[in-house]
Each structure stands twice: as structure tokens, then as C-alpha cells.
């Protein structure tokens, strides 16, 4: 067989990996997790940004945010703790300086954002509402590392519902709500945000953790505690995505410790429509293209012609 014939052969059997979430069409179900991919341009030297399903930006607030003191990261077994503290340029600087780069790329841009107060959430959503390059919003109500905002809204179903309702009023953009695992029952908050108008749910954000330097007897993070991410949290994430998929009708994006295609497939099989890759981007800037290729190979080998056959195919 010639090389050329092999290539044609592979093309013929190439599975359809495209998915759609709340009207956002993606070439494949793989996108970065917010905060692990900067504003996209940081990783442009290492991968073709048009290869991935979507770009998810670092979380934005109304005003620029300084973030937490250092040390902000600590490696743990099969994972890392971070307490960056949502350092970001602010929504206006994003629109002015970061968005023009993303405009040229034929991949949907999902903007992650948060507020210190309910009003700030509403105002950021309003400022992004009429910007055509923004394909969708990801509402962060789950950051464990800041005093105000974030997790305060994400752990209380009433507060979560209120902030989703307000953002919904300010923006018609597809609205993804990112949930925290640091609750007793994630399905309660999932149902609350669905009822309040969320178009999709993304879960999970990091698990709150702590590590101690035994010699200095100090916490290894200046913030004392941080969010645990990486392969260590994947089984927890798969379980929670499975629970949320059962609890709501809107699509779910699965995230937590995905490093390779097999990890991503676990999430798709329990019912996630798409997945986010986080910490793995730090380890290997080409993690996402490799995962996409791996999913494609898996589909070919398993005789799956459309990724949607796989989504929610868990045998219980």
C-alpha cells in the first residue's frame, strides 16, 4: 500500500468529532480549562489554536486583579495546589489588548469571568454582551482562593441561582456555569443554576487542599490553602460529572485531571458533551492536540463514526 492510499483510507474513516454546546459549535470536544491557557496567545507557539474545540480565557473581573502573594503553587502527588488568586487584566483591557489576537483565530472564544459582588458579575456580563468575537460566557462561581466572589456564590444554591439569573438578564450569550466540587451535593447547585437559566454546566473546579513544609512548619502556599488539580482529582471529577449529568437536562462540560485521551473518554462516556484540559497544558503544551488525536484514533479503532455515539454511553 502506498503512503498516499493509506492517508485516503484514514480520511474516509475519520470520525465526526464535532459537538455543540448551547449553540457554540466546536470542531471537537476538547478545550482548555480557564486559568491554564492564559489568553490563548501564550500557547500559540506550540499548537495550532484552530485545532482545538474552543479557547477558554483566564477568568476576568471588572477591574484588574493583583492576585495572591507567592508562593502560589505547590506540587503534590499527581497534582498541584494553586492559589493564584484570579490575577487578571480586567475585562476592558481584555477587550482592548487580548481580544484582537483571538479575533483572527477560527475557534470559538469562551470568556470566563467572575465578580467580587453580584453587581460586578452583572456588569462584566453586560460589557461582554455585545462583543461578537465572544462565543459564550463561562461564569465562575467556584474559585476557592479569593475571599469574595467565586465560591461564596457557588456553595449556596440560592446565591448561585441569583447570580445566574442576574447575568442572564445582562447577556444573551450562551452561558456556561462552572461549579465547585467543595459542596456536599453538587447536584443541588447544578439544578439551581439550570433553573436560573444556565445553558450548560462545567464541572469540576479545583478541590480545596493544603500542604505543609515540615521543616519550616509553614503552609507551602502563602494563601495557606489552594485548589488541587491534576490527575489526583480525576476520579472525583468523573463521579461528579456523572452525578450532574443525571441531575440536569442541559449539557455538561467535564473537567478534572485529564492528561490523555483515555482520561477524556471517561468523561464523555459518563455523559459530558465536551471536556476541558487544565494542568496537563502546563506539563505538555501539546496536551490538547494529542488528546484530540487520541480520541480520533480510539473512535476509528472502536468503529465509532460520530463522537456523539460515545457521549453518555456508560453501561451501568
Amino acid at each position: 500500500m502506498t503512503g498516499r492510499a493509506m492517508k485516503t483510507d484514514k480520511n474516509d474513516r475519520r470520525p465526526n468529532l464535532a459537538v455543540e454546546i448551547a449553540g457554540i459549535r466546536m470542531k471537537n470536544p476538547v478545550m482548555p480549562a480557564s486559568g491554564t491557557f492564559g489568553y490563548g496567545e501564550e500557547y500559540a507557539p506550540y499548537l495550532d489554536l484552530e485545532q482545538i474545540g474552543a479557547i477558554v480565557t483566564k477568568g476576568l473581573s471588572l477591574n484588574p486583579k493583583a492576585g495572591n502573594p507567592t508562593p502560589r503553587i505547590a506540587e503534590t502527588v499527581s497534582g498541584m495546589l494553586n492559589a493564584i488568586g484570579l490575577q487578571n487584566v480586567g475585562v476592558d483591557a481584555f477587550i482592548q489588548y487580548k481580544l484582537p489576537f483571538l479575533r483572527e483565530i477560527n475557534t470559538p472564544v469562551i470568556v470566563n469571568f467572575f465578580g467580587n459582588t453580584l453587581e460586578e458579575y452583572g456588569e462584566v456580563a453586560r460589557r461582554l454582551a455585545d462583543i461578537p468575537e465572544v462565543a459564550g460566557l463561562e461564569l465562575n462561581i467556584s474559585c476557592p482562593n479569593v475571599k469574595q466572589g467565586g465560591i461564596v456564590f457557588g456553595t449556596d444554591p440560592k446565591a448561585a441561582s441569583e447570580v445566574v439569573g442576574l447575568v442572564r438578564k445582562h447577556s444573551k450569550k450562551p452561558l456556561i456555569v462552572k461549579l465547585t466540587p467543595n459542596v456536599t451535593d453538587i447536584t443541588v447547585v447544578a439544578r439551581a443554576v439550570e433553573a436560573a437559566g444556565a445553558d450548560a454546566i462545567c464541572c469540576i473546579n479545583t478541590l480545596t487542599g493544603m500542604a505543609v513544609d515540615v521543616k519550616t512548619r509553614k503552609p507551602r502556599l502563602a494563601n495557606k490553602t489552594g485548589g488541587l488539580s491534576g490527575p489526583a482529582i480525576r476520579p472525583v471529577a468523573v463521579r461528579m460529572v456523572h452525578q450532574v449529568v443525571q441531575a440536569v437536562k442541559i449539557p455538561v462540560i467535564g473537567v478534572g485531571g485529564i492528561v490523555c485521551a483515555m482520561d477524556a473518554l471517561e468523561f464523555l462516556i459518563v455523559g459530558a458533551t465536551a471536556v476541558q484540559v487544565g494542568t496537563a497544558n502546563f506539563v505538555d503544551p501539546r496536551a490538547m492536540p494529542n488528546i484530540i488525536e487520541g480520541i480520533e484514533t480510539f473512535c476509528i479503532e472502536e468503529g465509532i463514526s460520530d463522537i456523539r455515539e460515545l457521549i453518555g454511553s456508560i453501561q451501568l
Binding site: E42, G67, T70, P71, I73, S78, V283
Partner: protein, 285 residues
């Protein structure tokens, strides 16, 4: 900058606890500048999960030999075994598969030619100064002040000498060279060469002292910093340091990986940086 999936050419202990690793990297000489670093990963092992940042010690070239071995370009890193990552590294051999992402960061500014150049290295902090010396010696007189706790910490000084660099060694316990801190030597040299450009890399207390001395003598100083780092490309924001004028209201965080690792001393808020615990934790990798 790119991710090279490659192999180790050699990995040798050069002093107690200090290793030199040579890694095959095609055409690295064209892109690596003094002060650049790489993010290193053992291809087949997890843990550790995250890559480790290492300053590039030098790039080099092995010509094709008569046995039919093709010409090879390589880079070298020097590391001290201090934690899990470096312990794993010390057990690697020729032919083991590794990945290096790079070259990364902003390197040294060469300054004006023909002025005296003084390099200050503390222990493993010596690493990024070699390529710098190799470049500076073309146009300037270069002196290296090398400090460590004891004689084991004094590494590869003879290689600087081979470049034509004048070297001064000091150890805290007096087991090699002059007894005392490298900063005492710097004081002396600056009195003798008041117009020198200074370049330094080493532990935070040393850098802080070097900065104070250079400020007193009003000489320009560039420092190469170490920091804990997850990505190395400016995305994780884990490695930030406080820039001059930083307050909570007006944040001036600088990314060590992207805006550094080399900074002009006046870019940084030294008092706040010294207060920040774990700032030099990168040494622990």
C-alpha cells in the same frame, strides 16, 4: 521555542550532589541566548507531574566523527540534587528519553562593550553566567566572583578560566579560596572598578545583598531569578515577583518565566520580594 522530544547524551556527577546533563537538541545554538532557560521533563515518568525549570549552562556542537556518527548539537544543564525531581534526574543515563521546552524567557542584556564586567555567582546560580561570559569576553574584560558554602559548591570555575575570565572564589567555611561571603569580594572589586556592569545569579539573600552594594556604588545590575513554575510560558502566573511600585491597589507583578528570568535590578521591589517567603524555592526543585 518549541518542545523537543529527545535523549540524554550524558549525565555525570561533577561535584558532590551536583550534576551536569548533556541533552541532544538540534539547532539549539541558533536560538539559545545567555540567560535563557528550559522546562525539563523525563518523558516516561510520572511523578513528578510538573516540569522543572533549568537555566541553560551552555550549548555546544559535536562534529561528525569518522565512525559515521553525524554532527550533534546539544545543550547542557547543571543541577543540584535537592528534591524528588532532581533525584530522579540524577539516576538518568545516556539514551534516556526526555523533553525540553525552550529556550524560554528573557535573557541578559549585553550592556556596553569595553566596560568592566563583573559576574557574581552563588552555588548553582552560576549556571546562566557561563554563556553570558562567553559572549561578554569578546568585547570586555570579565571577572567572575564565585561563592558557596563549602568547596563542593564551587563548580566549573576552571571552564570560565578557559574562556579567559578572571575568577575569584570564596567559601563561607574557607575550605576553598577566600573565607567569607562573595559579596565582600564584590565590595572590593567595585571600589577598584567603579564603572563595572554587574550580573548576578544565586540565592535570594545573596542577590539582595548584591543589589544593595550595586545601588550604593551606582552601577547597573542585572539579576537572573529562580522561582517555582508550572508552565514556563506565562500562563499559570505561579512564578510572579513584585515589580517596583507594587501595591495591592496597583499590582505590578512580573512573570519570572516570561518577563524574566533576567531583570534589571531597578525593575524589582527588593524589600517586598525579600519578605515573600519561598521566593527562592525554585532552588528546591
Amino acid at each position: 521555542m518549541r518542545n523537543y522530544k529527545t535523549v540524554i547524551l550524558s549525565n555525570q556527577e561533577i561535584s558532590s550532589g551536583y550534576y551536569r546533563m548533556r541533552i541532544l537538541v538540534p539547532e539549539i545554538g541558533k536560538v539559545a541566548r545567555p540567560g535563557h532557560f528550559v522546562m525539563f521533563r523525563v518523558q516516561t515518568s510520572l511523578p513528578p507531574l510538573l516540569r522543572r525549570p533549568f537555566g541553560i549552562f551552555r550549548t555546544g556542537f559535536l562534529p561528525a566523527d569518522c565512525d559515521g556518527q553525524p554532527a550533534k548539537e546539544y545543550l547542557e544543564i547543571l543541577y543540584k540534587v535537592v528534591g524528588q525531581g532532581t533525584t530522579i534526574m540524577s539516576g538518568l543515563h545516556e539514551g534516556d528519553r526526555v523533553e525540553v521546552l525552550g529556550p524560554l524567557g528573557r535573557g541578559f542584556d549585553m550592556g556596553t562593550s569595553n566596560t568592566e564586567k563583573i559576574l557574581v555567582g552563588g552555588g548553582i546560580g552560576l549556571v546562566p553566567l557561563y554563556m553570558l561570559a562567553r559572549e561578554l569576553i569578546k568585547t570586555s574584560k570579565v571577572r567572575l566572583l564565585m561563592g558557596g558554602r563549602r568547596r563542593d559548591d564551587i563548580i566549573v570555575v576552571t571552564e570560565f578560566e578557559r574562556l579567559g575570565v578572571e575568577t575569584y572564589v570564596s567559601t563561607e567555611d574557607g575550605s576553598l579560596g577566600e573565607e567569607g561571603l562573595v559579596t565582600q569580594v564584590l565590595e572590593r572589586k567595585l571600589r577598584k572598578f567603579p564603572n563595572a556592569d554587574v550580573y548576578a545569579c544565586g540565592p535570594m539573600p545573596m542577590l539582595e545583598a548584591v543589589q544593595r552594594i550595586c545601588a550604593t556604588h551606582k552601577v547597573p545590575l542585572q539579576v537572573s531569578l529562580e522561582a517555582l513554575m508550572a508552565c514556563g510560558v506565562g500562563a499559570c502566573l505561579g512564578c510572579v515577583v513584585k515589580g517596583v511600585g507594587h501595591t495591592d491597589q496597583t499590582p505590578r507583578y512580573l512573570c519570572t518565566c516570561k518577563e524574566g528570568p533576567v531583570f534589571r535590578a531597578e525593575q524589582l521591589d527588593w524589600r517586598k520580594m525579600a519578605q515573600d517567603d519561598g521566593y527562592c524555592e525554585g532552588c528546591k526543585s
